[in-house]
Assembly symmetry: C2
Homo-oligomer: 398 residues x 2
Amino acid sequence: MSQKRTGHTHVVLETQEVPPERVDWFLDHVQATSPCLVMDLSVVHENYVEFAKNFHNAHIYYAVKANPAAEVLSTLHGAGANFEVASVPELLECLAVGAHPGDIAYTNPIKKRDDIGKAYALGVRAFTTDSAPDLANIAQVAPGSSVTCRVAVTPPGARSPLGNKFGCSQDMAAALLREAARLGLRPEGVAFHPGSQQLNPHAWDTGIELSAQIFAELAAEGIELNSLNLGGGFPVRYIEPVPPISAYVAAIDGALDRHFSAGIPAIRVEPGRAIVATAGVLISEVVLVAKKAASDTHRWVYLDVGRYGGLAETEQEMIAYQLVTGHDGPNGPVILAGPTCDGDDVLYRKTPYSLPLALRQGDQVRFLGAGAYTASYASVFFNGFSPMATYYIPSQSD
Amino acid sequence: MSQKRTGHTHVVLETQEVPPERVDWFLDHVQATSPCLVMDLSVVHENYVEFAKNFHNAHIYYAVKANPAAEVLSTLHGAGANFEVASVPELLECLAVGAHPGDIAYTNPIKKRDDIGKAYALGVRAFTTDSAPDLANIAQVAPGSSVTCRVAVTPPGARSPLGNKFGCSQDMAAALLREAARLGLRPEGVAFHPGSQQLNPHAWDTGIELSAQIFAELAAEGIELNSLNLGGGFPVRYIEPVPPISAYVAAIDGALDRHFSAGIPAIRVEPGRAIVATAGVLISEVVLVAKKAASDTHRWVYLDVGRYGGLAETEQEMIAYQLVTGHDGPNGPVILAGPTCDGDDVLYRKTPYSLPLALRQGDQVRFLGAGAYTASYASVFFNGFSPMATYYIPSQSD
């Protein structure tokens, strides 16, 4: 979609991104403060429908941590999503929009025993674990619940490998599921996560193979597992192209056919970024454009949002957002930084961003694809800056 | 001070740290949630008095960003501190505890023109700048104000070098101060910052030398600068010993004598960490202690606070806090991690922490020296976790 009509330049939008004219229309009608996040709930809905169409054989659990806003959860609940939560407050947010506790899984392997008990009291019966003490806690305060064991997999290609902090060894996973049965819990299945913003569709292969071995090992002992949780990690386009979601489905289906020849279990997926990222546009303002020495070849562009104000995923420049300004070129190289007195609050120093030479203080800079892992990360009062506001464009299907 | 009486072990307290028995007494009387930060306002007061005694020839501006709590600001205002602020909300916090706007400097070189105007309307007349557009904004909306120009210095030894984001070249600093005079502003002096938690007392030498050259250059043109701002960066002890503050005073005095032979200007310092860090104890709870494979030689210790809950300075393990548990040894190696579903939420993987083998879920782990750059960094709702509460032990001098 061309942006010529609205005066924004240098971005080619893909499908299922917020149309810039809808953001313009919205901002014309709202006294928005800067910085802020504008979420288009229509796009959340469309992304979910599209994702569900691709994964039509899977049970979809939205990863609430990606964007826990009530408006987002309500939209997804209306679209039929299940939810995976990292904490009791996230669980309460889901229940508050009408989600049934039977459609919610408490998937954080790190949880206080009291919190497991609270979730159980609220009706949750599905837990993910990766360690013996957590399993013992579940057995004690959530008796009879179903338990999925997360196994560590560290495939190449993930922008944020998770294997070190989460998941246990294959042997331990089998032992924990065995122990779950002994403790009166229901050993439900195996989970793994290939890493966030995973660019390689085949990154699921190893986890699927390893899970199939655990299924087979336990089946031989009379323990029938029911489901395989493929985690999240499905990428969205930031500045670099990513494979289409259909490539992930094809790669995963192929691996399932290869490794589960005796029958494919129920499949669960936990998309977060893939559902909400492209629904969000982060609106920021240029605080200053400056050179710091006569010899500088680049400009410093300081924005009113930075790493501590919601752009936490720019740490080590892991996520490089598409930026849109209201100017046409010519462009020149910039270093982008946030507004705080913190030397680490620099967004992009190595990623070669180039912005219009006409850019001035007070101008707006939009971060596309900013609906995931942004507003809820913002610091509560770092350097005196308040967490950004979030605005919601109602779903057109409402 | 021995901790045998209170059952806490493995820590040798230095002077001006929170006595553990005061924290124990306080926690016995308060229904504290975990995690939380306990600030002993007596220690804030004592640290300020001690720092001021060492820097008895300097004007002291407390760096509000280190801990912007009203209770802290009120204590320091009572002790006679000036304040340096990074934003208008920080300024408002200072005014709310009774600070006079004439005792407050707006030192963030990155500020919106509107915010400069707001500060001016509230009575602030001292600004720090490092770029031409910021200087033009000051001249426009804060006419007649005094301006300090920040120059870039990157000495070795700082744990967090700031030179790249802040400060301009020496030539540009002179030009900006010249321009300030032309714009009807008062060119007040030069500022630099040697980097946070600076372990080398001689790290100020280069900045002092460079500043003296700017003073001399402008004096030759008839522009008399009045003050030199040495920034902050004075370290506190975490797990590694640091030189005493007197070593910094001696090194700085020596450099001033060498480079300002014609007369030493008024000196300003901006301590933050050195005033509040040792006044704070962060109380956390062990969520789980787990091994993830039979072959693991270390234990994973998951706490209910992590990098996104207030321990932001553990990024790249820059700050390694002293930890205290209620157990005696024997100890064994651990990896420490936070409670979120984020793979990067690991506190210490490389720093060789060793904690009691008896450590179990539900046990308390205390982070000493946690009064600076913690509570105000906490995310607003990341993974559903609320920002930690802060409690204040009243100053004994109140």
